[in-house]
């Protein structure tokens, strides 16, 4: 048996501070990425409903493209190819933009479903009440559409959290990258990798509880 299988608590204690450093970056990237994804998603969802067919179409294809290709390759593209055309982004910024854009295409679907789920009768009632477009959106449609979306949105933000290890490809020292760095320095893989797994599991189990609560709180609207 190699040293791989011998679990060493002293070693765990030693590398903990480094890993926690990584957790901080991971959380920061997730939070910023979520905010961006929420905004980008709404923009895409609204653009796809635009009466201007050209706008709706091209945004639609753009979103499909982003959704159909791996985030990893997109990150490489943003970080290593964009500088050729003069766009030089710091690693964390590039990472947040990558996460935000990629997950924005998912949240756009959530927004779309949420808006579509408001019954047609509500649009018609708004018309029968002679409400204009803006009033219909702000007073009738969005207040009903957004609460049921919250659990689905939260779900994607949790998924994003688990995809942050990809940022190591563009030199962001998040949790996974820290763990790899530790592993390479000491030639011990099992403790850092298992700790990473444990971190993710703990955070996502907490988030499951949070999700259930959100679903309970916002999931349905009584009619």
């Amino acid at each position: 048996m190699g040293p791989l299988m011998e679990w060493d608590w002293n070693f765990v204690r030693e590398i903990m501070p480094t890993l926690i450093q990584g957790v901080k970056i991971t959380i920061l990237a997730t939070v910023l990425g979520s905010v961006l994804a929420a905004i980008v998603g709404l923009a895409i969802a609204l653009a796809r409903r635009s009466p201007n067919r050209a706008v709706a179409r091209s945004v639609g294809w753009f979103a499909e493209f982003i959704r159909g290709t791996p985030l990893l390759v997109q990150l490489y593209f943003i970080f290593y190819v964009l500088p050729d055309i003069g766009i030089l982004l710091p690693p964390l910024v590039a990472g947040v933009i990558g996460l935000g854009l990629h997950y924005g295409t998912y949240t756009a679907e959530v927004y779309r479903a949420g808006i579509d789920n408001v019954p047609r009768g509500q649009w018609e009632a708004a018309k029968a009440c002679n409400l204009g477009g803006r009033h219909t959106w702000t007073h009738v449609i969005l207040p009903q559409a957004i609460p049921p979306m919250i659990p689905a949105l939260a779900n994607y933000f949790i998924a994003m959290f688990k995809e942050t290890p990809l940022l190591s490809a563009i030199t962001v020292l998040e949790l996974m990258n820290q763990a790899k760095s530790v592993a390479n320095t000491y030639y011990r893989y099992i403790e850092p990798m298992t700790l990473v797994g444990a971190f993710f599991l703990v955070i996502s189990l907490c988030s499951v509880v949070l999700l259930r609560w959100l679903e309970h709180r916002y999931g349905r609207i009584e009619r």
Partner: protein, 219 residues
């Protein structure tokens, strides 16, 4: 430019590995999705608990960690998988956990009245599931399954961790051999997108075929 064709060849070989992983991973994911998804709505506590543990574990830990365990740690438990097997195992189990929630959601989305009609016709639990609930739920699941398959396709891009030469990895190889960054990345983006389009087209036509006669006005 003869060199280029050689590198393109390399990328196409990577695409083959990616396709292989996607197809085999999808099959495993589908099997797990139905097992765990139906397990979640089982009458038996033990089955429910097992299914829940599987789903939460694989959704909770990241695919990187799962790949690492499948490839580097399982051998110590006496199970040595080839990189391809390990990749399929990790990807299939991971995406299967997500798809299991889709199966469960779809089963629960079938209205209570359909279950009650089964009871009123004295169908057994499994009979009702098999002939009434699942056929209808399948239609609800399909679009999300399509998305899951695309997610699996994209997730294959991380298997280079276990020395599988997939599409993304070959792009890296080409990049380091040629010193060009733009061309390999653009070509793999295009290939991924083409594969994703094929997947969603396939799922959509399946959906259309299955929806025949069922759609339309429902009271």
């Amino acid at each position: 430019m003869t060199q280029w064709s050689g590198y393109l060849d390399l990328i196409l070989q990577g695409a083959l590995v990616t396709i292989e992983l996607t197809l085999m991973g999808s099959v495993l994911a589908l099997v797990m999705a139905f097992l765990a998804g139906m397990g979640r709505v089982s009458r038996f506590f033990v089955v429910r608990a097992l299914a829940t543990a599987y789903i939460e574990f694989f959704r909770g830990t990241s695919i990187f960690v799962q790949l690492f365990w499948a490839y580097f740690v399982l051998p110590f438990a006496g199970l040595s998988l080839t990189p391809l097997q390990a990749g399929v195992l990790a990807l299939g189990l991971n995406v299967g956990a997500y798809a299991a929630e889709v199966v469960r959601g779809a089963i629960l989305s079938i209205g209570r009245e359909q279950y009650e009609a089964c009871t009123a016709l004295n169908l057994g639990r499994w009979q009702g599931m098999r002939h009434v609930i699942l056929p209808q739920a399948l239609l609800v699941m399909l679009p999300t399954f399509g998305n899951n398959a695309i997610e699996l396709l994209k997730a294959t891009s991380v298997v280079s961790l276990i020395s599988l030469a997939d599409l993304t990895f070959q792009a890296q190889v080409v990049r380091s051999q040629t010193g060009s960054t733009l061309m390999p990345f653009v070509s793999v983006l295009v290939i991924y997108f083409a594969l994703a389009l094929i997947l969603s087209w396939g799922v959509r036509s399946l959906e259309r075929r299955m929806a025949q006669g069922v759609d339309g006005v429902r009271i």
